[in-house]
Amino acid sequence: MSRHSVRSPWLLHFNAGSCNGCDVEILACLAPKYDIERFGIVNTGNPIQADILLITGPITKRARERVVELYVQMPEPKVVIAVGACACTGGVFRGMYNVENGVDSFIPVDVYIPGCSAHPEQIIDGVVKSLGILAGKNKEMEFPTQLRGPVTIDRGQVDRRGLAGSVASLEKGCTNRGTEN
């Protein structure tokens, strides 16, 4: 892992059904009082340039494919941070009919930040911790842990065409064929 992207990681934030509480606290981290930019962190909207994925919310069924899509588009090495109680486990939304109980049921999570809402100081702590993890990773490919349908590799990339899965694969249940090549 090159030193440079640890010194200046780019951050992508996605709201996967959160109540906005944690989103706004992430925004507060970027603002003057907490100022996460002093770690060289830049907020980007583009997954292809991002190193850190911050996810809030319990993953609603509509947001599910989008989360996986964003994760797959990010280049390796990458880290994923689940911000807030509901991103970690589903929190207060756990078991509601339209949520999937936490980020880690779809993509591997490196750092969990608890709290409802997570305090900006906790978020900074988590991001700094994730930088250590990022430094230890190499360019090996990482995969979503579960999808509606198998993960297939096409010419060295995760094939995104089947991400949302067909109805047939939905009925067969979820398959986890993570590192198959």
């Binding site: 996605f14 109540c19 509601m96 009919y97």
Partner: protein, 361 residues
């Protein structure tokens, strides 16, 4: 020769705080039609309120409908339940609830102002707004114990009392904040480059506001005098010095001005409350289970928030219906885009300050 393009904005985009997707049909830079898709954050809270949770837990669940106006949702819910169960809360409780609601409005309006200026390309003003918002959040933390999601109100009362030291601290910080709001007001009114992006853009006419039933700052910026703080009697806003902020132009600029004037008014109301807070208990005992149905209306930072609660003599409710302000405002938002340039879409959207987690629940 004109060609039409379809440009999607969202579900994930830098200028969006929350997932919403717009499909703009663009004709030579002008927006010809818009479609909005708002369901990305639907979680199913209404059903869970009526099945999973007891009615005494629900105030804290409905707070998670939206982080920015959490206390408004809790207040609306508890007022409805108190009406059902014929609970008369103390005056002190009501005044403390106003303080929590107005602190919430202050921080929410700061975000809206900051976000509009960021979308207009004025990053420094965004940072300034966020810095001032921290003052409001510090007060919230001192007053309730947490920055966001502070779960302040419960059925029959509030969870924390206001101590004299806290009141002193609040007064000191609020007077600082008042000066900052004055400065911001001057900046927003007189900055020439901001007026290029704001004045005459994203206009909602009075007829449109009435026809589409707009609420909140959007309606008030178009000259439609509607505010549940005077129209409904859920909280005694008349006693604490409420003033209606009304503008007539209906563009981004006047929406900002309405927000700034409401900020100043909220600060003044909190100061009045701190000066004359009635003495008394902060809680009354709650016995029994709710029966029948009741409706409550509270003015959220973004407009009217309406709750309908139906009980059935057990500890679980039959139905909780949530009507959030942005849901009522979506038609007027979509309509305001038509005829504008595509480049202006992010600031227009930010000036409406949509809250999708309220809308989708």
């Amino acid at each position: 020769m004109s060609r039409t393009y379809v440009i999607p904005l969202g579900a994930q985009h830098v200028s969006l705080l929350e997932p919403i997707r717009f499909l703009f049909t663009v004709e030579n830079e002008r927006i010809a039609s818009v479609e909005a898709d708002i369901g990305f954050v639907h979680r199913g809270i209404e059903l869970a309120c009526a099945t999973k949770f007891k009615f005494k837990q629900v105030p804290y669940v409905v707070a998670r409908v939206c982080g920015l106006c959490a206390v408004v949702h809790s207040t609306a819910y508890v007022t409805a339940v108190e009406r059902l169960m014929k609970i008369e809360t103390t005056r002190r409780t009501k005044w403390l609830r106003i303080v929590a609601n107005e602190l919430d409005r202050i921080q929410s309006h700061f975000i809206a102002l900051g976000h509009t200026s960021e979308c207009a390309g004025f990053e420094a003003l965004f940072m300034a707004c966020m810095k001032d918002r921290e003052t409001a959040l510090e007060l919230t933390e001192a007053f309730t114990g947490n920055r966001m999601q502070f779960d302040y109100v419960n059925i029959g009362g509030v969870n924390r009392d206001l101590t004299p030291e806290m009141a002193l601290l609040m007064k000191k910080k609020l007077s600082l904040l008042k000066n900052r709001v004055n400065d911001l007001q001057e900046l927003f009114m007189s900055n020439w480059s901001l007026s290029l992006k704001y004045k005459g853009i994203g206009v909602v006419s009075l007829e449109d506001a009435q026809r589409f039933n707009a609420t909140g700052p959007i309606a008030r910026a178009s000259g439609l005098a509607t505010d549940l703080r005077v129209e409904a009697d859920m909280l005694p806003y008349g006693d604490v010095g409420f003033e209606l902020a009304l503008e007539t132009a209906g563009d981004i600029h006047s929406r900002n001005v309405v927000r700034l004037r409401e900020l100043a008014n909220s600060i003044r109301m909190i100061e009045n409350i701190l000066d004359g807070l009635p003495v008394g208990d902060i809680e009354v005992p709650v016995k029994g289970n709710p029966d029948g149905d009741a409706i409550s209306h509270i003015e959220a930072p973004r407009g009217q928030c309406i709750y309908m609660v139906r009980g059935n003599m057990t500890s679980t409710l039959d139905r909780v219906k949530i009507q959030a302000p942005t849901f009522a405002n979506i038609p007027v938002i979509v309509n305001a885009f038509v005829g504008e340039e595509y480049g202006n879409a992010p600031p227009i959207l930010a000036s409406f300050d949509p809250c999708l987690s309220c809308t989708a629940r």
